[in-house]
């Protein structure tokens, strides 16, 4: 008997909570994104000239992470002219998760349609799709460059890098092992990754 009483009390509490919440004029849904604690430099020139002279604590470049472009971003569709590929698995059946796509036969944009295919590290992405690179080479420079190419093509108001800049970063690195960010200033692959990473949330 006491168990029944307890259950009833719990239900009433739950009903009260919902009733109380309904007082809000608009639905309460707040997104709690993780952003760089120290703010960000959204452009190459800003990164080179800013350093300690400028407070960037409130600057957010709002690029999406590679993880987004491998998951929900792929599901929602890549920005034109890029294509994530048809959601068909290796058995020819429709699939819902981007990691299950049969990439070679998906019709997705190939990495080498945009970038130099062969990286300076010797990894050849020529026949891989953009989405496949994200799922196969987590943490690599190719993984970051694909994501930021898509950020640049997305028209995010606060995102300052262009598709041409991202392509140039990769292509210079792929052929020489570094990117000339300014005359005589060379970034390694790790430098490029660090820069791109602080422009995303």
């Amino acid at each position: 008997m006491s168990k029944i009483t307890d259950k009833t009390t719990n239900i009433d509490k739950a009903r009260r909570r919902l009733a109380k919440a309904s007082v809000a004029a608009v639905p309460v849904v707040l997104t709690l994104t993780s952003r760089p604690v120290l703010g960000a430099y959204c452009s190459v020139s800003g990164m080179l000239s800013g350093n300690l002279s400028r407070d960037t604590s409130n600057v957010h470049c709002d690029g999406f992470s590679p993880g987004y472009w491998g998951n929900l971003g792929a599901k929602r569709g890549y920005p034109a002219p890029y294509f994530e590929g048809n959601f068909i698995d290796k058995n020819g059946d429709p699939c819902t998760h981007p990691k299950d796509i049969d990439y070679p036969n998906s019709g997705g944009t190939k990495f080498s349609d945009v970038f130099v295919g062969l990286g300076f590290d010797g990894v050849d992405h020529t026949n891989e799709t953009l989405l496949e690179v994200i799922w196969t080479y987590s943490g690599s420079l190719a993984f970051y460059c694909v994501a930021h190419l898509l950020n640049a093509a997305s028209g995010i108001p606060t995102y300052q890098l262009t598709e041409a800049q991202i392509i140039d970063m990769w292509n210079q690195w792929a052929t020489t092992g570094s990117y000339e960010a300014a005359p005589g200033v060379y970034w390694s692959g790790e430098d490029i990754k660090a820069f791109l990473e602080q422009t995303q949330h």
Partner: protein
């Protein structure tokens, strides 16, 4: 938004929940974003994890489980909520 359109949680990704009294946070594995929801918003999203419903069906489910007054304003409230969930990628239209 058509009121006959049916909605469900975006397929292929998980929602990870933690709830304190009137508030919940939910982590969406598809976007990597975490959202803070009030109890009504959390109830609706949890319902759409299990079922595919249109706005009328969502309101009916809510009215069965609460003392909420489901008038015209409430319909607008739920429409806004569904639009917001859709924008955030938490739910998608049922394509069937």
């Amino acid at each position: 938004m058509l009121t006959s359109e049916k909605w469900h949680a975006t397929a292929g990704f998980k929602l990870l929940w933690h709830t304190w009294d009137d508030e919940s946070v939910v982590y969406h594995t598809g976007s990597g974003d975490t959202h803070l929801l009030d109890s009504v918003a959390a109830f609706v999203l949890k319902t759409l994890e299990k079922k595919t419903l249109n706005i009328f069906e969502i309101i009916e489910t809510l009215s069965q489980d609460s003392d909420l007054v489901t008038d015209e304003n409430f319909h607008e409230f739920i429409s806004q909520l569904i639009s917001k969930f859709n924008r955030l990628g938490l739910i998608e239209r049922h394509s069937g």
